[in-house]
């Protein structure tokens, strides 16, 4: 993989900030514009370093699939944040014309081939995309993003077995935030219950398993980059366990009509009464941490950092405004047969 030069490091910081600011704006929409977002959103705040560090390894032609917690990936890939926000607001200028919503973003031209709303079910699909890459022989690599919860799903095991058997060019990136909705990993995973890293699961599939600090984008870049190099060289898949902390609750609350949707506090507090764990995570927030590191290393000038922050805020203000101003699709558009069938 390539060494990260200063420009690249600043780019990574910028993408992390863009994801953070976007997710904040989604969350604020529930307060500032109640009723605008319907359904279920899931935010990536806390995982920016892992997302950006992974995506920074991608070469032209590489592809990825993700979960319903998917806003961060297209943002880092360069998809227009106006169209992402409009999709989340259900508008016809949304990324998917209002058909998919927050959980089903997609941008095939930028290599983002979509998500699944069902835990673990995107993993076999990403494995299939890697199968296609193997057939095409153009050196493509596929990143399969999922959470720790998915590693209990049969789909995870079946996919890793197949990918290792056929040496498919895929990197399985498990963002382990230690929670599966409101269940802690130790409550549902035999390895976690034993205090073991989840990357140990890779040994059942003859593939390397590595655990990395998902709050450090450079560490993630190096781990995923090494895995991508392996895959590109035809040596098969790798499991990268990227340890992150989700800074928001699993998602906005699910409520019957009439009850305003909002983001409650993190499950560490509401379910486990462990405010200390949450506050420690806030103190270790990867975004300001990376900013401080780059400033300290002389890579990023504080005034430039402030400028970037201002540009990002403006960008996201624009995204929200664009989305608010966008029209809803015509109701009849729901019956578009050419969207049901190709």
């Amino acid at each position: 993989m390539e060494q990260l030069d200063n420009d690249r490091l600043v780019w990574m910081f910028t993408q992390m900030l863009r994801i953070r600011e976007f997710e904040e704006r989604v969350k604020r929409t529930f307060e500032e514009h109640p009723g605008v977002i319907r359904g279920h959103t899931h935010l990536a705040d806390g995982a920016e370093a892992s997302i950006v560090g992974s995506i920074a390894t991608m070469k032209p032609g590489d592809q990825l699939m993700a979960t319903y917690r998917c806003h961060g990936y297209p943002i880092a890939l360069g998809t227009d944040t106006k169209s992402i926000m409009a999709e989340i607001y259900g508008r016809k200028d949304g990324l998917c014309g209002g058909y998919g919503g927050s959980m089903h973003l997609i941008d095939p031209e930028r290599g983002f081939l979509g998500t699944s709303g069902i835990v673990g079910q995107g993993i076999p699909q990403a494995t299939g995309v890697a199968f296609a890459a193997q057939l095409r022989k153009q050196g493509q690599v596929v990143l399969s993003f999922f959470g720790d919860g998915a590693s209990k799903q049969g789909a995870f095991h079946e996919s890793l077995n197949l990918a290792s058997l056929w040496k498919l060019p895929v990197v399985y990136v498990m963002e382990n935030n230690n929670y599966n909705v409101s269940t802690r990993s130790e409550q549902e995973d035999a390895n976690a219950a034993n205090g073991e890293p989840l990357s140990i699961k890779a040994t059942a599939y003859s593939m390397p398993g590595v655990t990395v600090d998902g709050g450090d984008p450079v560490a993630v870049y190096e781990a995923v980059g090494a895995a991508a190099d392996r895959a590109r060289a035809g040596e098969g898949p790798t499991l990268v366990e990227s340890k992150v902390y989700r800074l928001s609750a699993h998602g906005n609350i699910i409520a019957p009509p009439g009850v305003p949707l909002h983001y409650p506090e993190h499950e560490a507090i509401t379910t486990f009464g462990n405010r200390e764990e949450y506050e420690a995570a806030l103190r270790g927030d990867p975004v300001p941490r990376f900013r401080a590191r780059l400033v300290e290393q002389g890579v990023l000038d504080p005034s430039r950092a402030d400028e970037i922050a201002k540009e990002v805020t403006e960008e996201m203000d624009g995204a929200v405004q664009f989305a608010l101003d966008s029209k809803f699709p015509e109701p009849e558009a729901a019956a578009r047969n050419d969207y049901v069938y190709a």
């Binding site: 076999p124 299939g128 296609a132 789909a155």
Partner: protein, 326 residues
């Protein structure tokens, strides 16, 4: 040029012809060509023809991914019931992704499996479960009833840009029939009128087409002239041909190997009841499997299923020439 070959060979031929024609077609599944001497492996190599482990979720999910990435997978699932192990991928992923993306992607994938093999394969391997798939828009369903259709519908399934459940009844695999050589496509959504008649319309699916034709033969000796229609695909369903026939005959008997509830027969009945009501001179009759798990023992297995006698009896009933059971 057509020549007589068995149904099972027609299916294989379609796959081979399409793989020759289109390098993006790949074929894999459990026990697909385990030996390197297999003709498909010889022709296309191990990249495009693979054997996979018993991992339905991965096998079908992978097909979705391959399709999203521009390939056209054909997945061998062996039995329709094994699709149930990966039900999410079949009904909640493959047929929904295009729509949810606002038309940005397509998922051309063929899920191939056998169904309804009433040879004592018992409760978990003998179901005709395709009816449930009719409730998932975006998912096409093909049920070839002849060797020619086995080839033509497989070719159409592979060329279709949507996910297709292609289901063959293993009872028919050795039936011989005329099958055209080379490229041969039977379009989806076009029912076949297997026998013309004016007294009653029998709509029959898959293996029951042959039973309906046998019943029609028997009935013709009684002076009853039955029209037998094979829809070929349940989605898209050629209701126009069915309605036109019912307009001509005024009576409808539906034969399907699936259960009475939640199946193809119920859907077709409702369509005709709603859109062809004015043509009907008698209530619609359904000849389906009983609503039970298919039992193992032979006499019970036979009892549960539709057959030639039951179809003929149903025809006589709708013609008022036999009493209707209470």
């Amino acid at each position: 040029m057509a020549r007589e070959i068995p149904y099972i060979a027609a299916v294989q031929e379609a796959i081979r012809v399409e793989m020759e024609r289109d390098p993006t077609v790949v074929f894999y599944g459990q026990d697909v060509a385990p030996s390197d001497e297999d003709p498909l492996v010889q022709a296309f190599g191990r990249e495009r023809v693979r054997v996979s482990p018993i991992s339905e979720t991965a096998e079908i999910g992978m097909a979705v991914g391959l399709a999203l990435a521009g390939y056209r997978p054909v997945v061998e699932l062996l039995m329709a019931e094994f699709m149930l192990v990966a039900m999410n991928q079949v009904v909640n992923e493959a047929p929904r992704l295009r729509y949810m993306s606002g038309g940005q992607v397509k998922v051309p994938a063929v899920f191939k499996a056998g169904y309804g093999f009433t040879a004592g394969w018992a409760g978990q391997h003998t179901g005709s479960i395709y009816g449930m798939f009719m409730g998932f828009p975006g998912l096409k369903i093909a049920l070839p009833a002849t060797p020619a259709d086995a080839k033509g519908l497989m070719a159409a399934a592979i060329r279709d840009d949507n996910p297709v459940c292609y289901l063959i009844n293993y009872l028919m695999v050795l039936e011989h029939g005329d099958v055209p050589e080379g490229e041969y496509v039977v379009p989806f959504g076009e029912a076949a009128i297997r026998r013309e008649g004016s007294d009653v319309t029998i709509v029959a699916t898959g293996w029951t087409v042959g039973r309906a034709l046998e019943a029609a033969e028997t009935l013709s000796k009684e002076g009853i002239n039955a029209e037998v229609i094979d829809p070929r695909t349940l989605n898209p369903l050629d209701t126009a041909t069915i309605l036109a026939s019912v307009e001509k005959t005024g009576r409808l008997v539906i034969a399907d190997q699936g259960t009475r509830h939640g199946g193809a027969s119920a859907v077709i009945s409702a369509e005709v009841a709603e859109h062809g009501f004015g043509s009907l001179k008698a209530p619609i009759a359904q000849v389906t499997a009983l609503d039970v798990t298919v039992p193992y023992s032979e006499p019970m297995e036979a009892y549960v299923l539709p057959n030639e006698e039951k179809i003929a009896l149903s025809v006589r009933q709708v013609l008022g020439e036999a009493p209707v059971a209470a």
